[in-house]
């Protein structure tokens, strides 16, 4: 016997800025106790706003125009704030989409979780700490005893996200709203988290509102799925129904666009291959399009193949070039060519201080002797579990962090010895897309200014006007409306911000780009569009990438060569396909296996498990 926990009725949430943005435009759904509702949808379709509306934590310019949000019978929209406060954190808790900026920079992460515990539970400080450590352990933060004393800036992106999760879980809420909770997590941790969520849901009857763009994750956890598109619900149904028989062209598109470990696409299909949307006076009209087999074929065949390291090197690292094993268009770099970027024995150690006066207590060896080469036109995929030092490596290459040791050579020049103009020149060619898109955008700059800025700095792109035109173009390329150029970073959804960062990095037409989890917050259709764009650019302009991601399918799609990192070191290095097909390390294998699966069989299996667990719980309740 279940009853309705949350019922959202015709919810409309608008932003009243310079123009009205109808972020959520009349959506309705219900959520039963113990149920998981997955919300998927286009980036910027109103998922986060919906969840924030439920929490009543909307920005100042947002207003719930109409509709009700009934939680256990009380309408949250009209609930006075003191009452709402009792519900927040205790009955409903939320994992925010951007863990980077959602943690208070001046408190240790442990203190922040402990606070959440102590706000709603009558426990002593030490008990709360005990619980926190346990939670940290559960969500897979290594060395939780130490980590509770870390400040947010000392944690990697994924670690911060896990802190957020721990915080949200700390009080056993009735309803957990998880907004893209695993974007920054590597697959092993993601699996672990999903496990926890499932367990909590089934053992405690917790309901989950799970927002994600990752259909694989949806498949792993959700009972029902809600598909959102431009502030509206376009499809709502049980999980297997959506996967088996999607009705709406958008849903169909989503299911088709997702890169899988086993796909052979050179380019990914995008939603526009499945539907057309035209803006008319009345609104947006959507027309379904059929995906033709020719088109499919085209996607499989067109586009660049892979570019591997010179043969001698391949040999050296134990991935001999075996004629025929690689697809036809896989090429090798000419042995005479010098690598564009060469990293030798890079080390970044962060000192750990404790207390006010105390000295350095020890070092976090974030990167500990990493060496690799990247050749012009290549894509190096960098994978590894969260906190293994990927971001730090990327930043050290650009000298945003001074490396402790090691050599980084770009175009044969030692990056560490560059100064002034030379450094500027280097930065024109070498760009990075940051893992934290919100943090890396100046809150007081319109995104037009943000995108134009690199052009202004590097003195390219012609006149101001031409630069803005180029900015508009870039916006279109990353799938965004050029009209948005006049907005400020806080007025965007997570995915939109990520795209802005990509657009900004592309603005200077760099030779080399470090993409740090750059598509993690994008829904598959946009992700596909962006990935295609990156590939196109590579083909057209011979761009070189270091592609950092935890999503192995994306890395596999993108990367030519791949490095697997663990605890600051590279444990495996070789052609991407080789590594997938034939992982040498246990660690790598674990990563590959943990990738979420969205085949129907798997979904059915999950649902079965689910039923069982629920029955068990009900029986225990009955027997009490």
């Amino acid at each position: 016997m279940t009853h309705t926990l949350l019922q959202v009725d015709n919810l409309k949430t608008f932003f009243h800025g310079e123009e009205v943005v109808k972020a959520v435009d009349g959506i309705s759904f219900t959520l039963e106790e113990g149920e998981t509702l997955g919300i998927v949808g286009e980036s910027g379709s109103g998922k986060s706003v919906t969840s924030l509306s439920i929490m009543q934590l909307l920005a100042r310019s947002a207003k719930v125009e109409s509709g009700t949000i009934s939680f256990l019978g009380t309408d949250l929209v009209r609930l006075p704030d003191p009452k709402m406060r009792e519900i927040r954190g205790k009955d409903i808790s939320m994992i925010f989409q951007e863990p980077m900026t959602s943690l208070n920079p001046v408190f240790t992460v442990g203190a922040q979780v402990m606070e959440a515990i102590r706000l709603h539970q009558k426990v002593s400080k030490s008990e709360a700490q005990e619980q926190t450590i346990q939670l940290f352990d559960e969500v897979g933060i290594p060395e939780p005893h130490k980590r509770i004393h870390y400040y947010p800036h000392q944690m990697s992106g994924g670690q911060k996200q896990r802190v957020m999760i721990a915080m949200a879980l700390s009080c056993n809420p009735k309803l957990l709203i998880a907004d893209e909770p695993t974007t920054a997590l590597d697959v092993t941790i993601q699996a672990q988290i999903l496990d926890i969520l499932r367990r909590l849901r089934d053992s405690r009857g917790m309901s989950i509102l799970f927002i994600t763009h990752d259909l694989g994750v949806i498949a792993e956890i959700a009972d029902h799925v809600l598909v959102m598109y431009r502030g509206k619900v376009v499809e709502h149904g049980e999980i297997h129904q959506i996967f088996e028989d999607p009705k709406h062209p958008y849903t169909k598109g989503l299911l088709a666009c997702r890169p899988r470990l086993d796909t052979k696409y050179r380019r990914l299909p995008t939603v526009s291959d499945f539907m057309d949307s035209t803006v008319t006076d009345a609104g947006i009209e959507i027309t379904e399009k059929q995906m033709t087999p020719e088109k499919m074929e085209q996607l499989m065949q067109q586009g660049r193949g892979r570019l591997l390291h010179p043969k001698p090197i391949l040999e050296e690292i134990g991935h001999q070039w075996k004629e025929g094993e690689y697809s036809a268009d896989t090429k090798c770099v000419d042995p005479a060519e010098k690598p564009l970027l060469s990293v030798k024995d890079l080390k970044v150690h962060f000192p750990i201080r404790k207390g006010i006066f105390s000295r350095v207590q020890g070092y976090v060896k974030a990167v500990d002797g990493v060496s690799f080469d990247v050749f012009r036109g290549q894509t190096l995929g960098l994978v590894g579990e969260s906190g293994c030092g990927k971001t730090t490596t990327g930043r050290a290459i650009l000298r945003l962090i001074e490396p402790t040791d090691g050599v980084v050579e770009f175009e044969g020049k030692n990056v560490r010895s560059l100064r002034g103009q030379a450094l500027r020149e280097m930065r024109k060619k070498l760009q990075i897309i940051f893992q934290d898109p919100y943090g890396s955008l100046n809150p007081r700059m319109t995104i037009e200014a943000a995108i134009c800025e690199p052009m202004v700095i590097q003195g390219i792109g012609g006149t101001r006007k031409q630069q803005s035109e180029r900015a508009a173009e870039l916006m279109k390329e990353v799938g965004m409306n050029p009209d948005f150029l006049r907005r400020y970073p806080h007025e965007f959804s997570g995915g939109q911000r990520q795209r802005i960062c990509i657009a900004r990095a592309l603005a200077v037409e760099p030779d080399f780009l470090v993409c740090d989890e750059s598509v993690s917050a994008l829904d598959v259709s946009v992700q596909a569009q962006v990935l295609n764009l990156l590939k196109d650019l590579q083909e057209r302009r011979g761009l070189t990438y270091i592609f950092i991601s935890h999503d192995l399918s994306v890395v596999k799609f993108m990367a030519d060569m791949m490095a697997v990192m663990n605890a600051g070191e590279i444990v495996e290095f070789g052609p991407a396909e080789d590594i997938y097909a034939n992982p040498q390390q246990e660690y790598t294998r674990k990563l590959i296996n943990a990738t979420p699966r969205d085949d129907l069989q798997h979904i059915h299996q999950r649902q079965e498990e689910r039923k069982q667990a629920r029955a068990e719980r009900l029986s225990t309740i009955a027997s009490v």
Partner: protein, 326 residues
């Protein structure tokens, strides 16, 4: 950090040297010498003779170039000797230390009171920002800010001390203070200090309140404030624990900057309330060109200023873990 502090203290000595050197140069370049005034103090009927003036000039080292005089002064200081007042012939250290407690009592209480009031005011106005009552309080504070101290002091004296006879008119203690009981002494001090402390405090409230509000408004926009709210923390908790902690950096700067005012006193209030403090001493010493006293005071102010700056710098690293000094 400890080494940082030690290093700063060492450097501070150098800074002190530079400051005193500059100030010594400045005061020696101000027109007039201690003799200018002394010559005037001699009665109408007499004048100091040339010989006497020469002697005095020698004594005060006025016959030497200022930078040479400075080294003499520095030599004395290094021997722990700050020199002697010119009017008040006692040692500078004695003159200053006699007045210091009084000033500290006023300024210390006032500074404490200012911060104790403006922090809640600042937080409250942040919470109520834009509402009528916030506007009303802010405007009221601006009125206070615009009300000159000497006006308030005189009117308060007129009403509270003369008309109603509730509080003493001036002075820092009553006659027979030493014979009073401890409680009586406390009450007496309180009664005497009430008005000057009030006058010293009210004007700055608007400034600090607005300062805190401005910084808080910036902080409460941040995402982590949303996180705190999502935890179910009360608005007060969100404001005080989460937001306030993050706007401490400017406040700490402010504290560092205001620390030296502890020693500065206020010329106007000290004159009106006949409160023999440092402010009046400083003013008097400047007009009298009492070089040794000025230098002693400057040395003291500077040391305090440097300490304030050091304190602020150290506190930065404490209130914001992202800031480190290596």
């Amino acid at each position: 950090m400890l080494t940082y502090i030690c290093r700063r203290l060492m450097i501070g000595i150098f800074t002190l040297w530079a400051v005193t050197f500059i100030v010594y140069g400045l005061i020696r370049s101000m027109p007039g010498t201690p003799l200018t005034i002394q010559q005037d103090m001699v009665s109408m009927d007499n004048m100091m003779s040339e010989k006497q003036i020469e002697k005095l000039e020698k004594q005060y080292r006025l016959d030497k170039k200022w930078y040479i005089g400075y080294w003499y002064w520095l030599g004395d200081v290094l021997q722990g000797e700050l020199g002697r007042g010119i009017n008040d012939r006692r040692k500078v250290s004695v003159i200053i230390s006699e007045r210091l407690p009084k000033t500290l009592m006023l300024t210390g209480t006032s500074l404490l009171l200012t911060y104790l009031l403006c922090i809640p005011f600042g937080l409250w106005t942040t919470a109520q920002s834009g509402k009528f009552r916030e506007r009303a309080l802010s405007t009221f504070l601006y009125v206070l800010y615009a009300l000159p101290t000497f006006v308030a002091a005189v009117y308060l004296n007129l009403v509270l001390a003369v008309r109603w006879d509730l509080l003493p008119l001036y002075g820092s203690s009553s006659e027979g203070f030493n014979e009073m009981s401890t409680l009586g002494q406390f009450q007496d001090i309180l009664a005497h200090a009430a008005l000057p402390i009030f006058c010293l405090t009210y004007g700055s409230l608007a400034y600090y309140t607005r300062f805190i509000k401005a910084n808080m408004m910036e902080t409460v926009q941040q995402d982590y404030i949303r996180t705190a709210k999502a935890k179910g923390a009360s608005p007060a908790r969100v404001l005080i624990i989460h937001a306030f902690r993050n706007s401490l950096i400017p406040l700490v700067t402010m504290v560092g900057l205001t620390l030296p005012t502890l020693l500065a006193g206020s010329v106007i209030l000290e004159t009106i309330y006949q409160w023999n403090g440092i402010g009046f001493l400083f003013f008097q010493s400047i007009s009298g060109r009492e070089y040794p006293v000025i230098m002693g005071l400057v040395l003291m102010f500077s040391a305090m200023t440097l300490l304030g700056q050091l304190l602020a710098d150290v506190l930065y690293a404490i209130v914001d873990p992202r800031i480190t000094y290596s």
